[in-house]
């Protein structure tokens, strides 16, 4: 059955690795249709790698339609620190001709192609010139042969999982237990078939390939690791942060965090409500926060627009609240399942009136956990709303990272309802600390929380000095926070030619770009910001030490040749040497896109990495 021998091709100049040689990392891409269960083997493979002491990072595309449509899963496994999902694949698995046609360019020269020989006819000559090895096998038929049954394609993904687990020398026992856990709910016979498929795939003869893709044992061996998506890490971070009430409305890519919180917050005595819309979601969260229960709401792009009136209330009424926005492509309904970083300005400024709030962004899945804790801490220390800006890439990416220690990092915030002599809700000279209803006030004067401008006791006031003083007070909370933030660290030398600045999910590619540029640029550094409003201190001094500052963002460069963070940084530092490297394709940056753009600067007006010919010039005609 094996077509390995006939189709195994040796690239010119490519020498097969001697047995026993070990790889440090490998990028695997699987491409097919969404009903092929690609996401689920991707997830299991990532988890298996995580259990095998690998660092893992993945890249997924979820088709907008639920079934049908192309789907890929890319997993970058390695034993060092994995920073990005990887640009090009070392190994490409394709189920169909269209997957082959579309994804072959992303397979690196000298890589390995695995294909379903019942559906794909590769161009062997083309492969040979690129030094690509290939192996075809009729995956569907082989699966049916082992599992039996009709022509149902179910199970072929598990067959493939077995084959890949063998290719990478993962532990069969660990793979079995993952598969068992995955199918347990569906009954014994399903588990049995899945295990049959897994073992048959495992037993498929890989011939010479069998020694080529063994990964090195990791440096972090023995460290207990978790493997999860950014959205899962976020849900656990929210719980660890002490949040015990949440409310939301489903929207991609935020939804799975919400589903998880709905199911798991009750384990902690908390509640998560699915509301009728986002206006209700944020209002319910503000209501619970007012009641003294740590609260959050979450959404993606369009929902953040609907939040804005209530955000303005939370600023005015000084309500501590965590607001999550998992960004996707916009404007409007935009690109629901793609990545973009274009909600930053909305997060920072979106709402009427002067309404300062805190905005933070995690750079990777692990940070979703810890930064959520910090975000809630800030919300309570300054009594204000904090917007937590994740993005689709972080949300759906699976990473393996050190298991957090809940007994050390879990935050507990409880409302103290002991009677007190009196309460002034809005003191001008200190941060507001609301008392929750249920707290007896011995002077018998109960406070009002309000969206009207008010005096220190919460009564409406149109006094000009009062409005000025209260407006300043609300703003000063941001100044105070900014003064308490650490100066961010530069990755690389403290001065030089180029500084690459970023935020959110681009951290890994930026760090790789910095590494790659080191060979030909004297002094290149990276700076990744987690605090976006207020910005951390020391930026002016850092920027002063570099000749050119590039701000890498997945949003439009606009009129000034830099994107949303770039513009904010120009405002903050008045530094004219800031320019943007922008991408608006709904896809993450590749390392070479950043590197190429820096090596051949094209002037500020053409800052997008690729500009469509149709819009290069625009006129009324």
């Amino acid at each position: 059955m094996s077509q390995l021998s006939s189709q195994m091709q040796e690239g010119p100049g490519e020498v097969a690795s001697p047995p026993g040689k070990r790889l440090e990392e490998a990028v695997l891409r699987i491409a097919g249709n969404s009903q092929d269960g690609i996401q689920s083997i991707g997830v299991m493979l990532a988890r298996l790698a995580g259990r095998s002491d690998m660092e893992v990072m993945t890249y997924m595309t979820i088709p907008a339609t639920i079934s049908g449509g192309a789907s890929i899963f890319q997993v970058h496994m390695g034993t060092g620190e994995i920073l990005s999902p990887g640009d090009d694949a070392d190994i490409l698995v394709v189920f169909y001709q269209h997957s082959y046609d579309r994804h072959l360019p992303s397979l690196r020269d000298g890589g390995l192609l695995l294909y379903d020989s019942s559906h794909v006819e590769p161009d062997n000559e083309g492969l040979q010139t690129r030094g690509i090895k290939s192996m075809g096998l009729p995956i569907t038929e082989l699966t049916i042969e082992t599992v039996g049954g009709s022509g149902k394609q179910k199970g072929k993904n598990i067959y493939l999982l077995g084959l890949l687990a063998n290719l990478f020398h993962f532990d069969l026992g660990k793979a079995r237990s993952l598969v068992e856990a995955r199918f347990r709910k569906q009954g014994d016979s399903v588990v049995r078939n899945a295990l049959l498929a897994l073992e048959a795939g495992w037993a498929y003869s890989l011939g010479e390939l069998s020694s080529e893709y063994r990964l090195c044992p990791a440096e972090t061996r023995g460290v207990n690791k978790v493997t999860m998506t950014g959205n899962q890490a976020l849900a656990y971070g929210i719980i660890a942060a002490g949040v015990r009430f949440g409310a939301g409305y489903p929207i991609t890519p935020w939804t799975d965090t919400m589903e998880q919180l709905r199911q798991e917050l009750p384990f902690f005595g908390g509640t998560f409500l699915q509301t009728e819309d986002e206006l209700a979601a944020i209002s319910a969260a503000i209501g619970a926060a007012y009641g003294g229960v740590v609260a959050m709401t979450g959404t993606s792009g369009p929902g953040l627009s609907l939040y804005s009136e209530a955000i303005s209330f939370a600023v005015m009424a000084e309500i501590p609240l965590l607001i999550v926005d998992v960004q996707r492509g916009g404007p409007s309904t935009g690109l629901p399942t793609n990545v973009e970083q274009s909600d930053l300005e909305l997060a920072c400024y979106g709402a009427h009136g002067d309404s300062p709030r805190v905005v933070m962004a995690p750079a990777r899945a692990e940070e979703c956990f810890y930064l959520a804790i910090e975000a809630v801490d800030i919300a309570y220390r300054y009594s204000l709303p904090v917007v937590f800006l994740s993005d689709q890439a972080i949300a759906t990416r699976i990473e393996s990272f050190k298991m957090p220690k809940p007994d050390r990092c879990m935050q507990l915030i409880v409302s103290d309802r002991k009677p007190r002599p009196y309460h002034k809700p809005y003191p001008l000279d200190s941060v507001t600390r609301h008392v929750a209803p249920g707290t007896r006030l011995e002077d018998g004067a109960y406070p009002h929380v309000t969206g009207l401008e008010h005096d220190e006791y919460g009564y409406p006031s149109v006094n000009p000095e009062m409005h000025t003083a209260m407006t300043r007070k609300r703003h000063k909370k941001l100044d105070l926070l900014a003064s308490e933030l650490p100066v961010p660290e530069v990755d690389g030398p403290m001065e030089g030619e180029i500084l690459i600045v970023g935020w959110g999910s681009t951290e890994g590619v930026i760090r790789k770009a910095v590494d790659r540029l080191r060979s030909d640029v004297s002094g290149v550094g990276g700076l990744h910001l987690r605090h976006l409003s207020p910005l951390p201190p020391g930026l002016t001094e850092i920027f002063d030490r570099f000749e050119r500052i590039y701000v890498v963002e997945m949003n439009d460069g606009g009129r000034y040749g830099c994107g949303q963070l770039g513009r904010m940084l120009r405002m903050e530092t008045c530094c004219p040497r800031i320019q943007g490297i922008n991408k608006t394709e709904g896809l993450s940056f590749r390392v070479d896109e950043i590197v190429d753009r820096i090596r051949e600067p094209r002037g500020a007006e053409a800052s997008n990495v690729r500009e469509s010919r149709q819009t290069a010039s625009l006129s009324h005609e």
Binding site: S283, I286, G287, P406, C409, R420, Y459, P460
Partner: protein, 325 residues
Amino acid sequence: MSENLGKQRAYPMSNESNDSETTITAATEREVPEERRHRLTKSELRADRPTWCAGCGDYGVLAIYQKMLEKRNPPHEEIVTLSGIGCSSRFPYFVNTYGVHYLHGRVLPFATGLSVARPDLNIFVFVGDGDAYSIGGNHLEHCARKNVRMTVVVMDNEVYGLTKKQTSPTSPIGFKSKTDPWGSQIPPLNPIKKLIAAGATFVARSVASSPNHLMSMMEQGMDHNGFAVIECLSECVQFYPGAFDDTHPRRGGKFSEVPADHDIGDDAAAYRLAEADPPGYFGVFYREEKTTLNESEGERVRQSQRRFDGGRDSEVLERLMERLT
């Protein structure tokens, strides 16, 4: 990233004494038997002087609310008075209880969050017809459907008062407002029918000028375990004077109570009763005992917590995350 962010903290940190007590001490008068508890007085419930126009129907609602609290005497600190935006929604400033003046149309979801998070509180919501039936109409339906525990009084003047005379969803056909100077041509919505159709479990109708009747409706609303709505006609003397003269015997109108033989458990009968020509009937149209959202969410928490048999939060989190190792 530090993983040592863990800290225990009690908010609010009092400005003058800062002790590190972290447990919730719901020191209320609840444990004190009702007869021995301090009795709320009218003056204790008074706050800012109302800013409503002289003669506004809303004064009547405020007076009855204070009188009812005095009579029923719940622990003072457990009363929460909430409102949206409108003349009527200035309400919380005029009564000395915990109060929130929230957004136009959104106070019901605010109250939902508060009610579910704090089922121990007595939550009262006061809103206008525009707030409840127009901008907040969707929330009203969903609160009714979910049966969230709270008492809502809609102070319906059939006009937008605060913004000075625009057509409201309850303005009758022919009503001349600044947005319909030629007379409104859109049929008004019928709040009682809307509420019954949405599944509200307590629906009553009253008028601010009948204090005893309103008091009875509000007390029954307060006693109802669930979402109780009292649609209360309340005259805007400024922009729709005389709107409810037809309910007032002394002004030549007729105050008809819900007929004694009406079955308040029959939603179809209530629906038909609500179709009576103006000024219609007053009283409880519909009442039903149904599981509240507070109860179902509370039960979910109890069941979920049983699964980890009372483990500490950090242990539970660790066990959940261990599934992903």
